[in-house]
């Protein structure tokens, strides 16, 4: 047998390879989870069908609403459908990449299986939150973008590279803010151990994010608008990218979502690392 006494030195590897390592790892994890999902194809198909049905019901509901009125909270039918598509795509990204992992975190804490993830020479946050890709909800991303495309087509939207670029940036910011919120909820599992409320909290989050900000701008709901725009910026997540494409661009909101993204990511990472410091590891 060859001498194994010299450990592998990561610094000797190609620096470019080191930087792309996380992307390669994500691709590898994605491939493995797809292989795993496909080995239980019945379960996989049922999950896909449920997601498609859910979207179809939602679209039928909005068709019914817009059959009776041309505008909802200052959003026309095509604008609103774009908003719905944007929410679906964004929610699809979160659910495909992060939701199952975050939901499983409390189980890892309770059983002590988190130990093995913490021993790996790689960023813990990456490994814990991106470990498994939930391919069964990934069609939501495609369907969301399809709905957005159809809405733009029906509206007779003219291509604008600046808007598309801004949409890409603000959409990514929306994903990052939603991810940060989820990471904070997930981190609480270290102290709570059983954290079944995560799904409920995520449902609350997505319920708030799925409607235009305008519905919160009357009466007592205004205070909700202020809280969930400027303190917990949930309402920015879908509203800002949708407005960038369908309404007048608001540079101040674009700047704000950029700042909110940096703050959310930093705070959630700080909170996550603080939670890991409190990890006690279950008895063997």
């Amino acid at each position: 047998m060859q001498d194994h006494s010299v450990p592998i030195d990561i610094n000797s590897a190609n620096p470019v390879q080191n930087k792309t390592r996380y992307f390669r790892l994500l691709a590898r994890l994605g491939t493995f989870t797809l292989i795993r999902e496909l080995s239980f194809r019945g379960n996989f198909l049922v999950k896909v069908i449920v997601e498609v049905l859910w979207l179809a019901i939602l679209l039928a509901f909005y068709e019914t609403v817009f059959a009776r009125t041309s505008v909802v909270a200052s959003w026309s039918k095509q604008d609103y459908m774009f908003f719905v598509g944007c929410f679906f795509a964004l929610n699809g990204v979160i659910e495909t990449l992060f939701l199952e992992n975050c939901n499983e975190f409390s189980n890892l804490v309770r059983t002590g299986d988190l130990d093995f993830l913490l021993l790996k020479p790689i960023d813990e946050q990456f490994l814990i939150t991106c470990r498994r890709v939930d391919w069964s909800v990934s069609p939501n991303i495609i369907m969301g973008f399809c709905i957005m495309g159809v809405s733009l087509w029906n509206k007779g939207w003219e291509f604008d590279a600046l808007r598309v670029a801004m949409f890409g940036i603000t959409f990514t910011c929306g994903v990052a803010i939603a991810y940060s919120f989820m990471l904070v909820l997930t981190s609480c599992s270290v102290w709570l151990v059983r954290n079944q409320s995560l799904m409920e909290m995520w449902w609350l989050f997505s319920s708030l994010a799925r409607y235009p900000r305008e519905i919160y701008q009357r009466g007592w709901a205004q205070s909700l608008d202020i809280v969930f725009t400027y303190i917990l910026p949930i309402l920015l997540v879908v509203n800002v990218p949708s407005r960038v494409m369908m309404k007048a661009m608001q540079p101040e909101m674009i700047a704000f979502i950029l700042v909110a993204t940096v703050v959310s990511l930093s705070l959630s990472r700080w909170f996550f690392l603080k939670a890991l410091r409190s990890y006690r590891s279950a008895s063997s």
């Binding site: 390879q17 390592r21 493995f32």
Partner: protein, 329 residues
């Protein structure tokens, strides 16, 4: 060369929720909770030199796994410091985590529904192992453990012994300098135990890797380790050569006496503690300094067909050490 592991007066306390009995107690605990402090590890110090194969022994709940978890950086000590491979473990630096492996016999780190080879590939990516080196190491390890044909089989379809071999391969793929093994042979049959012992011995001899092993099987310890660290109730009670345990704690010898008569005489308890009796053969535990005197007395009074003087089995000795505790060395 500096020690691979240096532990300096390390302690770990846990605050544990004390649940009250019944529904009323559960309601009360909603508003006011009582906690107990459990001292899992108490003021332990030791160091391990490069290339040593050390057994870390203790009864259940002695603090072995807690210590291993502190050394691997999974949990923080309440008091004290430690350096492992020159790093403070709980800072969890990537360069530190790259140089060691922790194998837990009761836990599985491979992907359950996928073949072990897929987990190995993932491992290669995480540890950035060059492809050629990965193939070479994997080939050598699968051959050494005799599982070359099993790596494409889903982990959930493997037997416990095969799974543990795969776990060991995953732990060794990145060529760690330090191997922390927490009961790697637990629940395995004798054949699988011996295979894993053989693999560990051979791997250690060839690669001079430092190994810290916890096991309840004394066969593992006798086959692999020269040095033993014993803890009980969180405190270190022995640190030295395995053979030294007999000198320090083995205050008795085991006399196995076969009498000429069909049955042994009834008054043997005056010489020592009578053990098993099979026909004319008796096992008698006698304090070391009295062995000669006891033997001459018995020989003077009875006719003996055969006699042997042995050390008690290590397992019994260790069990006694655990029960009695003992002075710290």
């Amino acid at each position: 060369m500096p020690p691979i592991i240096e532990v300096d007066h390390i302690s770990k306390n846990y605050s544990v929720f004390r649940k009250k009995e019944g529904f009323k107690g559960a309601l009360q605990s909603l508003f006011k909770r009582e906690y107990n402090t459990v001292e899992a590890v108490k003021d332990i110090s030791f160091s391990i030199e490069p290339g040593e194969f050390v057994a870390f022994l203790g009864p259940n709940g002695a603090g072995k796994t807690t210590t291993l978890k502190m050394l691997s950086g999974l949990i923080f000590p309440s008091v004290g410091t430690a350096k492992v491979l020159g790093y403070t473990p709980w800072e969890r630096q990537d360069q530190f985590r790259r140089q060691f492996s922790l194998v837990m016999g009761q836990k599985n780190q491979l992907w359950w529904d996928l073949p072990a080879s897929d987990s190995f590939e993932l491992h290669r990516e995480i540890y950035n192992i060059p492809n050629q080196q990965f193939r070479q190491t994997l080939g050598q390890l699968t051959e050494l453990l005799g599982v070359k044909d099993l790596t494409r089989q889903a982990v959930r379809e493997l037997s416990l012994g095969e799974r543990m071999k795969m776990e060991l391969i995953a732990a060794l793929l990145h060529r760690p300098r330090l191997l922390l093994l927490d009961e790697p042979t637990i629940g395995l049959d004798v054949v699988a135990q011996v295979t894993i012992q053989k693999c560990l011995r051979e791997y250690h001899e060839r690669n001079k890797v430092t190994v810290l092993l916890t096991s309840h099987y004394m066969r593992d310890v006798e086959a692999l380790c020269r040095r033993v660290i014993v803890i009980a109730h969180g405190k270190l009670i022995y640190d030295g050569e395995l053979s030294g345990i007999r000198d320090k704690f083995g205050q008795e010898k085991l006399l196995k006496i076969e009498f000429q008569a069909d049955q042994p005489p009834p008054d043997l308890s005056q010489y020592g503690q009578v053990g098993t009796i099979e026909g004319p053969t008796v096992e008698l535990r006698v304090e070391r300094p009295k062995v000669a005197e006891v033997l001459s007395n018995i020989l003077a009074r009875h006719t003996i067909a055969d006699v042997s003087v042995q050390d008690p089995p290590l397992e019994q000795l260790i069990a006694r050490v655990f029960e009695e505790g003992g002075p710290s060395t």
